[in-house]
Amino acid sequence: MAAKAKGRWLVLAVPYLWLLVLFLVPFLIVFKISLSQDAIAQPPYEPVFDLAAGWDAITDAFSQLNFDNYAYVLSWDNEFIEAYGSSLWIAGISTLLLLAVGYPIAYGMARAPKSIRPTLLMLVILPFWTSFLIRVYAWIGILSPEGLLNQLLIALGIISPDAPLQILATDTAVYIGIVYSYLPFMILPLYSALEKMDETLLEAAADLGCPPFAAFWKITWPLSLPGVFAGCLLCFIPAVGEFVIPDLLGGSDTMMIGKVLWTEFSVNRSWTVSSAVAVLLLLVLVVPIVFYQNVQAKEMEGR
C-alpha cells in the first residue's frame, strides 16, 4: 500500500516539478526584475539578491522592490496601453480571419475520404518543416511593391505598373502574416472536433426536415465549439505577443506589445520596464485562458 502511494506521488510529482522549474521559477525571476529599478550595472537592474551576503542583505533588497515600473507602463502618457489595445485588436481580427479560413479547410478535411485524411493532415503540418523566420521573410518577397503578387497582378493587367499595391509595411501585411503562420494551430483542433462528429447526426437532422445549411448551424457548429475555442485561443494568445511578424511585415506605425517589449529590452536596455510589460501581458492573457478552462470543464461535464 505504502509503496503504491509513493509510486503515485512520484508520478504526480514529475509534471509538477516540470511546471515549477520551467514556468513558475522563470516567472518569479521576471516578476522580481519587474519590481526592481534600472541601474547601470551588470545585470542592468538593482537590487540583486546575493545569497552569500546574508539574511540582512536579502531583507534589505526586498525592501527596495516596488511597483514603480507598473505605474510607468500603465500611465496614459506612455504608449504602452495603446500598444496593448492595438495588439489585442490585431490578434482578435486575425483570430476571426483564421477561423473563417481554417473552418472550411478543417471541415473539408474531416469529410474527406478516410484514406486521404492522413495526407491532408501532413500537408497542414508541412510548413513547419521550414523555419518560421524564413517563411515570414518569404512573404516580404510576395507582398513588397515589386514582389510576386504585384508582378502577377500587373501581368494580368489588373493593376497598372505605376501604382503597385502597397501591402508590405501595413497592418494588412501583419494580418496576412499571422493568418498564414497560425493556420495549422487553428485547423488542427477544429479538425479533431469535426472529425469526431457522428455523421448520422446530420442524417437525423435531414430526416427530421432540416436542410443541409440549417443543419450545419444547428448541429455541426455547436458540436464543433470546443474545437473553435481551442483553435481561437491557440492562435489568439501567441498572436497578442507576436513580435516577428509585425516587425518584418508591419509598418513603423504597427504597434504591437511584442515589438514594444523588444524595444524596451534591447534598445532602451530597460530590463525592469520590459519585465513589467511582460507580466502585465500575462495578466491580460490569463483572462481568456481562464475563460477557456471554464468552457473546457463544462465540455468535460458534457461527455
Binding site: 457522428d198 447526426l201 437525423a204 430526416d207 432540416c210 458540436l223 458534457g302
Partner: protein, 391 residues
C-alpha cells in the same frame, strides 16, 4: 422460441380468419411501392431488381443477415440513398431524388443519433421546429410524446445523462413526433439487453397500434421480426426470398434459406418417391432407405432431390418404436443433450451419420431425464409437421 403467431395478425395457416391482411386484398392500394429497384455501390449490388408493396398501418419487417441489402432498402425510402434503377413511391408519389428533409418518413437510427448538445425536450421538438409549428402546438406534441415513451421526468436531461433504454425511447419519441407516414426503424433494439428488448418489442407494437402508423423495421433478429411484424420479408443478397406473415415464414418456408434463417430446423436430403395431391412420399439414405411422408402439395416428380425441413419442437423422441405410423420414423442414438431449462434439445445421430435435433419440453421437475446420452431412441413426426423444400 416464439411460435410466431402474434395477437394482432391472427393468421391461421391457409388463411381464412384474418383481422388485418391488406396484402391479400387485390383492391388494396399499397402505401409504399418498390418497383424493380436496384442499388449498386460500384461493383457491389446491394439491392437487386426488387419489387415490394407495403400497406398502410402495416408493421413490416425486413429480415436478413448483415450485408443482405435490408438497410439499403430502408435508406432508399428515407432518402439517404437513391436507387440506381427503379421507382419508389410513397402514397402514390414518386420520391426518387427527393431530399430526405422533404420526405414524410422519419427514421429511428440504430445508433439513435440523438443530438448530444440538446436536451431530451429539444431533441423531440427538433423536427417540429423545422415544420415551423406553433409554440403551443410544439409543447403539446412534445409532452404527448414524452408521455407515450414514459419519459416525462427526463425532459431536461441531456442524452448522456440517460441509460441506453431511455435513449432508445427518446429516439423513438423524436422519430414519432412528426407523425410521419412511415416510421423507419433501423435495428432499433439492437443495443438493449434481452429482457428490455423483449419488453420494448411489445411496447413498439402497442405504440404502432395506438398511433395507427406504418412501421418498417430492419432487423437481423428473427425473433424480433416474428414478434412485432405483420409481415416479414426475408432477404438475401439484395433479393427478397419470401414475403409473408411470421407464421407462414416459420411454418411454410419456401426455401432452405428461409427455413434455416428463421428458427432452428433439421434439414434432411431425400428423393421423391411418389407425388399425390396433398401428399408427397420420399425416401432417404438413412437407415437403409427410411421413408418420409409429408402432407403437402409439391411440384416435383419421382426421382427429384428434395429437402425435408422439420422444426425440432415438432420432432418426437421415444425409447420404444412409435406404433402409430410407418413413415417419418427414424432410429438413432442420443449424441448430445442441451438442457435449456424449459426445453431439452436432444441431438440424435441417425443410422448413417445424419444428426437431428428434437426439442422436448421439460414438463416435470425431474432432474434425471428418462432419455440420456447414448440411449437408442426413435425420432418421429407427423406428416403435417414437416415441409418439403425444392430449393
Amino acid at each position: 422460441m416464439s411460435t410466431g403467431v402474434t395477437e394482432k395478425t391472427q393468421t391461421t395457416i391457409g388463411g381464412i380468419r384474418r383481422k388485418f391482411a391488406p396484402w391479400t386484398d387485390p383492391a388494396a392500394v399499397p402505401l409504399i411501392r418498390y418497383e424493380n429497384v436496384s442499388k449498386r455501390f460500384g461493383e457491389f449490388t446491394a439491392v437487386d431488381n426488387l419489387s415490394l408493396d407495403i400497406y398502410e398501418r402495416e408493421f413490416f419487417a425486413l429480415l436478413g443477415p448483415s450485408g443482405c441489402g435490408k438497410t439499403t432498402l430502408m435508406r432508399m425510402l428515407a432518402g439517404f440513398e437513391d436507387p440506381t434503377e427503379g421507382r419508389i413511391t410513397l402514397a402514390g408519389q414518386d420520391i426518387v431524388g427527393m431530399p430526405p428533409y422533404k420526405r414524410q418518413t422519419n427514421m429511428m437510427f440504430q445508433s439513435y443519433a440523438l443530438f448530444p448538445h440538446m436536451s431530451v425536450w429539444d431533441n423531440i421538438a427538433f423536427g417540429l421546429k423545422q415544420d415551423r409549428m406553433g409554440k403551443g402546438d410544439i409543447t403539446a406534441r412534445v409532452e404527448e410524446m414524452l408521455k407515450l415513451v414514459k419519459l416525462e421526468k427526463f425532459a431536461k436531461r441531456k442524452p448522456h445523462q440517460l441509460s441506453g433504454g431511455q435513449r432508445q425511447r427518446v429516439a423513438l419519441a423524436r422519430s414519432l413526433a412528426k407523425r410521419p407516414k412511415v416510421l423507419l426503424l433501423d435495428e432499433p433494439l439492437g443495443a438493449l439487453d434481452k429482457k428490455l428488448r423483449e419488453e420494448t418489442q411489445f411496447e413498439l407494437m402497442d405504440i404502432q397500434m395506438q398511433l395507427g402508423m406504418t412501421f418498417l423495421i430492419v432487423t437481423h433478429d428473427q425473433e424480433e421480426a416474428m414478434t412485432v411484424a405483420d409481415r416479414i420479408a426475408v432477404m438475401d443478397h439484395g433479393k427478397l426470398i419470401q414475403v409473408a406473415p411470421p407464421a407462414v415464414i416459420y411454418e411454410q418456408p419456401n426455401s432452405r434459406y428461409v427455413a434455416d434463417f428463421v428458427g432452428d430446423v433439421n434439414i434432411i436430403e431425400a428423393k421423391v418417391e411418389t407425388v399425390a395431391p396433398g401428399n408427397v412420399s420420399l425416401y432417404t439414405g438413412i437407415g437403409g432407405g427410411a421413408k418420409l411422408s409429408i402432407a403437402q402439395n409439391v411440384e416435383a416428380k419421382p426421382g427429384d432431390t428434395a429437402f425435408v425441413a422439420i422444426r425440432p419442437e415438432k420432432v418426437r423422441i421415444d425409447v420404444d418404436p412409435p406404433a402409430w405410423q410407418e413413415a417419418n420414423c427414424l432410429r438413432g442414438e442420443v449424441w448430445d443433450i442441451g438442457y435449456l431449462g424449459d426445453l431439452s434439445i436432444y441431438h440424435v445421430e441417425l443410422e448413417g451419420g445424419v444428426r437431428i435435433k428434437a426439442a422436448k419440453p421439460n414438463l416435470t421437475r425431474m432432474v434425471e431425464r428418462p432419455i440420456t446420452w447414448e440411449d437408442k431412441v426413435w425420432v418421429s413426426w407427423l406428416p403435417d409437421s414437416g415441409v418439403v423444400l425444392t430449393r
